[in-house]
Symmetry: C2
């Protein structure tokens, strides 16, 4: 059972979820975290014909029906479709907290999230910095790691939502090593070829210290330590050729990136629509669509559920590997 | 007439030049700047059958013959094929100086350069920092701008060969504005759709100052000034979506990038072999192949002249536009 949060009620989340369900595209049993009234309203307005029911606990679901864990927060008359709204932002936050707690209790095998609107949620929670940070905080984890995955490329990030100046400060040995370990683990779980590249921070990976010393002082020692641990990792490599080697030559399944755009630029260029966001370093499995609330197209029935389907598929792959790994451990207790 | 420097004699430059010439691939009259003895040796060893002759001045060239402005610096017995060599590095530098001076005198309409080896040239000239810097210095210019061009994307750079930390310091208003102006001019000369994007420096272009203030304090004012001058430019835009918009949606002919890898990562991912390096901001036209000396394959006859042909083609396009622009100015002196 996978939990799907419906995202900001004013955005495309509800219609994407219902569209995917009513068209029979969800290949796994799911439960929705959101507002029943909003989903039912969306269902009727767009004529999607999905059968949806409130559920209070597992096992209640009927075949062919989408179960909804109803937060009961937002009434249809309070809904501002396609607009930033404090009420929608607050509700979106609550669905995510609820799903995270369910995942921590083991009630759902993974959580898959539809988009929140940062500005909307900040109207009711000034301390809100982001979707992933909220989930990490509920899990009691600092330093969740952002992985973007498409069929052709996987990238992970040593830092994400900070200035480039701060990103340089964050490219330190321990942090790089942690991201390498999480990346290698994720690549294995996804069943991809396990070789992982570590990009440099500076042009030409610093050209032996001529263009910066972070490669020598921070990144190379992290790579050396990872290799000493037996991890199949190479680097620091010149950033401008690494993605070509990964994608066109198939030399690497994933690239560990030193800052947000180093990974986001190539991934979005290769696969703007189909990328999936996976959060590494949590005690639960969480994937997310790689698009926003798309306020400009809400209610038109044209939002594409493709990224949601990819996010569920990826969550299912990771969950299946986790199960088989723990089974394997039970069967081979001496290892 | 275009001048082609043969590059480091120990690298793939000589064989690429002769191969392109002997296969009839050079669609424009060219003269080579290099060592006649080395070219003749390469011609014989690889059985390329190119007819080559020393020339002292323009107009001496026979049809079907490659004229060589012979530097007379390197003997065949001093040649170290596929290895870093002080003699080769010194000779490569001399060819470039000679061709630059010829271009400044107007003897050649453009110079097209084959690769030097930085390490080799530094053995005889410790102050040598790069091919482009050498040409700019001979031209008496500070701040030449690197443009990479392929069929699908053009990128220019506010900074290139420095650390990422220094690149942030260099992303200042006047410098960004100068690169915008040069980029718009180059895009027009190349006959491309004139809209130009300016990428931000930080993730999400700083998200209104949350992830860095360079967009607000430096880049946006430069864009505003450029627009006030009538230049067709937009920005600062979020770097991770700008390249997709340029390439897949055709919204921009070129992207002004704030640092080396911001432009190099997407360009090399799209077109690893076919990119051409164009130096903007010089009083002469200079294009260059987008590959190195490739010491590992020298003398095997397998080096690909594709990038050289593209570099000549691009130089020819720019040169033709320059001529037609000056003609147009003569015809319409009042404008």
């Amino acid at each position: 059972m996978f939990g799907i949060t419906m995202g900001d009620p004013s955005g495309v989340g509800p219609e994407i979820l219902l569209k995917a369900f009513s068209q029979g595209l969800l290949k796994h049993p799911v439960v929705a975290y959101g507002d029943y009234a909003i989903l039912e309203h969306c269902n009727r307005m767009l004529g999607l014909g999905a059968r949806i029911r409130r559920v209070r606990r597992q096992g209640e679901l009927e075949e062919g029906t989408l179960g909804v864990r109803d937060a009961g927060l937002l009434r249809v008359e309070d809904l501002s479709i396609g607009r930033v709204s404090a009420a929608s932002g607050r509700a979106a936050r609550a669905y995510v907290v609820e799903a995270t707690r369910a995942a921590l209790r083991g009630e759902i095998a993974a959580m898959v999230t539809l988009p929140m609107n940062k500005e909307a949620t900040q109207l009711s929670d000034a301390s809100f910095t982001g979707h992933t940070e909220l989930i990490a905080s509920e899990c009691g984890v600092k330093g969740a790691v952002l992985m973007l995955a498409s069929d052709r490329l996987i990238v992970t990030h040593v830092s994400t939502h900070c200035s480039l100046r701060q990103a340089i400060e964050r490219a330190v040995r321990e942090r790089v090593l942690r991201v390498i370990r999480l990346t290698c683990d994720a690549v294995r779980r996804l069943g991809r070829e396990p070789r992982v590249a570590v990009a440099g921070l500076n042009p030409h990976a610093g050209e032996n210290g001529l263009f910066g010393r972070e490669e020598i002082e921070e990144i190379a020692p992290a790579v050396a330590q990872a290799r000493a641990e037996g991890l199949p990792v190479e680097g620091p490599l010149p950033p401008d050729t690494t993605f070509y080697l990964a994608v066109e030559r198939g030399r690497f399944a994933a690239v560990v990136c030193m800052y947000h755009d180093q990974g986001h630029i190539p991934l979005k260029l290769l696969d703007f629509e189909g990328g999936v966001n996976v959060t590494l370093g949590l005690p639960i499995i969480r994937t997310s669509v790689d698009h926003g609330t798309a306020f400009d197209i809400v209610g038109k029935g044209i939002a594409d559920p493709g990224s949601l389907l990819e996010a569920i598929k990826l969550a299912a792959t990771i969950a299946a590997t986790r199960v088989s790994r723990s089974r394997w451990r039970q069967e081979a207790p001496s290892s």
